[in-house]
């Protein structure tokens, strides 16, 4: 379950923010879940909860709100934009992208000009949208 590792990153970041901003408690964390990384939201949510509750900290009682974000890719050569969901991929290729989203450049090419030189416009992976505290 490598979702756990990323959930740990979210919690550590929240704690860092709390410390830096001099907060006594984090109340809410909003997270964007980019489609490209294909994170299992249930597992991720469970991991977040377990890590939060494993010890009393400034983040223990925070709510976590996850929002899915569709992945959009854009070709740097011909400018075409397309949705990751449209890419024809084998299961192992999908799984490799799940572990390392940049591997998309290995298995996906632009549907217009076949270039692997594209950028992730949005929806790459786990991203913290906001952290609220007091």
């Amino acid at each position: 379950m490598h979702e756990w590792a990323l959930a740990e990153g979210v919690i550590s970041t929240a704690l860092e923010v709390a410390e830096r901003e001099g907060l006594s408690e984090i109340t809410a964390i909003k997270i964007k879940m980019g489609e490209l990384q294909q994170i299992d939201l249930e597992i991720f949510e469970l991991a977040l909860r377990e890590i939060r509750q494993s010890q009393m900290s400034m983040v223990t009682n925070a709510t976590a709100e996850l929002e899915k974000e569709a992945a959009v890719l854009k070709c740097r050569v011909c400018g075409r934009e397309w949705a990751f969901g449209d890419a024809p991929l084998a299961d192992e290729e999908r799984e490799s992208i799940h572990f390392l989203p940049e591997i998309a450049h290995t298995y996906i090419t632009c549907p217009g000009c076949k270039s692997p030189d594209f950028q992730f416009v949005k929806g790459r992976g786990v991203w913290i949208d906001s952290i609220v505290g007091r």
Partner: protein, 248 residues
Amino acid sequence: MDPRPAIIGERFKDIKRLIAVAGGKGGIGKSMIASTLALILSDLGYSVGLLDLDFCGPSTHAILGIDGVYPEEDKGIVPPQVHGIKFLSIVYYAGDNPSPLRGIDISNAVIELLAITRWGSLDFLIVDMPPGIGDATLDTVRLIKGVEFLVITTPSKVALETVGKTLRILKEMSIPIIGVIENMKMAESSYVREQIRKIDVPFGGEIAFDRELEDSVGNAVRLLETDFAQNLKQIVLSTPAFKPQDGG
């Protein structure tokens, strides 16, 4: 906000020494030295990891003959152990296919791997770097606290010219330099040694050009028996940095 950098320190907290093998130019033996160094340290009884950060030209798996293994998933990814070395490379995910990555992607992939890989406790983690001072090197310096550099050059004045720039930047950033190894030495000359001493960087030692080295590529047992490996082992045994004390 990127959630990954905050967890990277945690991933390295039980590793005693983090050693990046770098150089100015390509093709000077960085990967060969990183791979063989990992083998030698493991052979000496230390627990060792090897991380290949050359995403565009990964080679340590080919040098060590690593094939058909894959990381386990356990609250992150756990590198498989091969020839006694915990090994991680982009080839697990890219296979034999090219990974045409731009700087931003390289940086993102480095951060991702550093954030999700659980090395556990190690005496040494050896990191094979791509040539020069690009994104992978800058991210290594930025994110792997306590990393030390082993810098490779050849007797060529051209290699020395570029390695000087790498050394200068590392020094300016106050990154510890274990030493400079002069690889592929073919004739007696103290030129490189003197130049390195002049800029006040420790000279690590020399490795002779080994005609038979290529025949051992892909075979870890034979690799350890080469003159190349013997030369490198002498350097390891005579360099204090290759003892796994804490806080390198």
